[in-house]
Amino acid sequence: MSEGKSSPSAVQAETVTKIFGSGETQVTALNEVSVSIRQNEFFTLLGPSGCGKTTLLRLIAGFDHPTRGTIHLEGQDISYLPPYKRPVNTVFQNYALFPHMTVGENIGFGLEMLGQSKTEREKAVGEMLQLVRMDELKDRKTDQISGGQQQRVALARALAPHPKVLLLDEPLSALDLKLRKEMQIELKRLQHETGITFIFVTHDQEEALTMSDRIAVMNAGRILQIGSPRDIYDHPAERFVANFIGETNFLDAELVSAKNGSARLRLPSGKMVNAALAEGARTEGTVSIVVRPEHAGLTTAKSKAALTGRLENVVYFGTDTHYHLRLDGGGEPFIVRQQNSRDTEETLTPGAEVGIEIGKNAVQVLRD
């Protein structure tokens, strides 16, 4: 992973450990996490609940402080700075709008606390309302507007003081699907227009893939992999990452030779394939590999088939069809996904013996 060298990172966490409680009830929420988030980046912390992503966000916001390790903001150590002294703002999961204030008062609150005059504030609030397209709702109470509108107010409130970094804690999880899609586009637009570094926390892999410049996949208090969405999806480094993002087929294979991050493997069927090697993966012996369902295809020509098996189930999804197979030689079920087209003729039925074709760069060797 190459880091931007010209300017300091927006946020840099170095071997950050956070332990809650003590003695028997002690919980390690973050375990020696290091990450460098670039300026103007849309960076996503992705992982299941309890993986430590929200804890890391809270450490950056200043609501909690690291047990060990440091956090730098544009080169300045902020590890133990209280939240009100950090040029960082948060969009909370349930928005946390002040119910005793109007929309305008909510948005102006940060500016007021920073000591801006009333006229300055009025102007900034007006601009923010325009930015999130809510001009007419300035004098409404926060319980008189819809969930989507509350979301926009929360965004405007956090953006108004022009923070160096905006933290978003699963801000879209309370919205319905249609609104969520809208807000995803809206968030990207806001990030683009303001040029502020966004750190986005989510457990929704699709959301992470569509919105992020880079993603850090977390589990059990650790960052497992950092990379672009494509990187993470096509080249998962660990079983957990491959499993958490998208559907995946896992196989065991014999590593024959390895060089410069690529390897030559022998599949259980005896066929040889080329594969990409994850950083830190073994370079000999039996290794775990993954093949995405859409990177494999069905074939009747035995010579092309890398694997063979018996078709167990065919599931039609409209845009594509999923074929569930039992491989010859056993193991976990293997799934092949094929795009449907008008010309596709449904001929395969469960029980058929089929061959599996694997694309050129479809195989990834895992670290574990």
């Binding site: 609501f63 209280p82 909370f92 709008l97 956090a158």
Partner: protein, 321 residues
């Protein structure tokens, strides 16, 4: 009851044909049930509060009997004597200094008690509300313990602490910090301390109830938006728990204003409050009409204070909205 059954019968029959009238019938039935549930409380209020109040009001317009009681003759003398007094020798009418000073002391001490209760109760409630849910019940339990003991006993306990030979003075003298005991008994301070001790839970509990409902993410949002601790308290926490603060203040102020036992025991005979003055009229003073008039006056003060408070609050809320 048969009517209830009948109306429910009708609503069921009509439901498919006329949903609106069925709904109406259901609502009527609901309203009837509500009155039925309310009725015990209404009966008690009518008999135990409004009735006696009417008697008191009537007595205040009668003449005092020589040995207590009343003579059934209309008179406004009692009301005259609430604030005014006649000098029999000079035949002049002046404000009754004695009564006014007692009114003033009552209001002053009650306000002081309320303020102190707020200053102590607010942080206490905050502390309780920020404990883990599992230990909050324990704190609630501890707060209510004083209620288990009789008011008189609690007041005597305070006396034991602050009297000249009491715990505080004994310790201070024993440590050589003072030579002669500090006179705390029979002062306004003693009365306020006693009332504070007795009524503090009434301040803590409503504030705690509001505080417990407070979404502490709002507090974090405040910090996040550059508000210091003090400003988060002033701009976020306080406005949101204000209903609790108001309820607590009312619950402390009103009984303080009418307190009888505490000023009697801790204030000695000297520092009377309204409650003592009223009691005096029904006892040694043998002037029931005056006592009745004073009682009504106390009631009026409470109501005026409440109205002013409520008005003030709703005006503030309107200014916000």
């Amino acid at each position: 009851m048969s009517e209830l059954a009948a109306s429910s019968q009708i609503s069921v029959d009509n439901a498919p044909r006329d949903a609106a009238s069925a709904l109406e019938a259901a609502e009527r039935q609901e309203a009837k049930r509500r009155w039925l549930l309310l009725s015990p409380a209404l009966v008690i209020l009518l008999l135990a509060a409004s009735g006696p109040l009417l008697i008191v009001l009537t007595y205040s317009f009668l003449k005092p009997g020589d040995y207590g009681g009343v003579i059934w003759q209309f008179s406004t003398e009692a009301w005259f004597n609430v604030f005014l007094q006649e000098d029999i020798f000079e035949e002049t009418t002046t404000f009754s200094d004695a009564h006014l000073s007692i009114f003033w002391r009552s209001v002053r001490l009650s306000l002081g008690t309320t303020l102190m209760a707020l200053l102590i109760g607010f942080p206490t409630a905050y502390f309780m509300a920020t404990r883990p849910a599992s230990s909050r019940d324990l704190w609630l339990f501890l707060i209510t313990i004083p209620f288990w003991t009789n008011l008189l006993i609690r007041t005597f306990a305070i006396m034991e602490v602050i009297r000249n030979e009491g715990i505080i003075n004994s310790i201070l003298i024993g440590l050589g910090i003072i030579d002669t005991p500090i006179q705390m008994m029979f002062t306004d301070f003693a009365i306020m301390l006693g009332m504070l001790y007795v009524y503090l839970p009434l301040m803590v509990l409503p504030i705690y109830a509001s505080m417990e409902k407070l979404d502490f993410r709002l507090v974090e949002a405040g910090y996040d938006l550059y508000a210091t601790r003090w400003r988060v308290l002033k701009r976020v926490i306080f406005p949101l728990v204000k209903p609790g603060v108001i309820a607590g203040s009312i619950l402390v102020f009103i009984p303080s204003l009418g307190a009888y036992v505490t000023p009697r025991v801790l204030g000695g005979g000297k520092n009377l409050m309204l409650g003592n003055l009223i009691e005096l009229q029904f006892g040694q003073g043998r002037n029931w009409p005056l006592g009745a008039a004073l009682s009504i006056t106390l009631l009026a003060i409470v109501m005026i204070a409440l109205l002013a408070y409520v008005r003030n609050v709703s005006r503030q809320e309107n200014a916000h909205g």
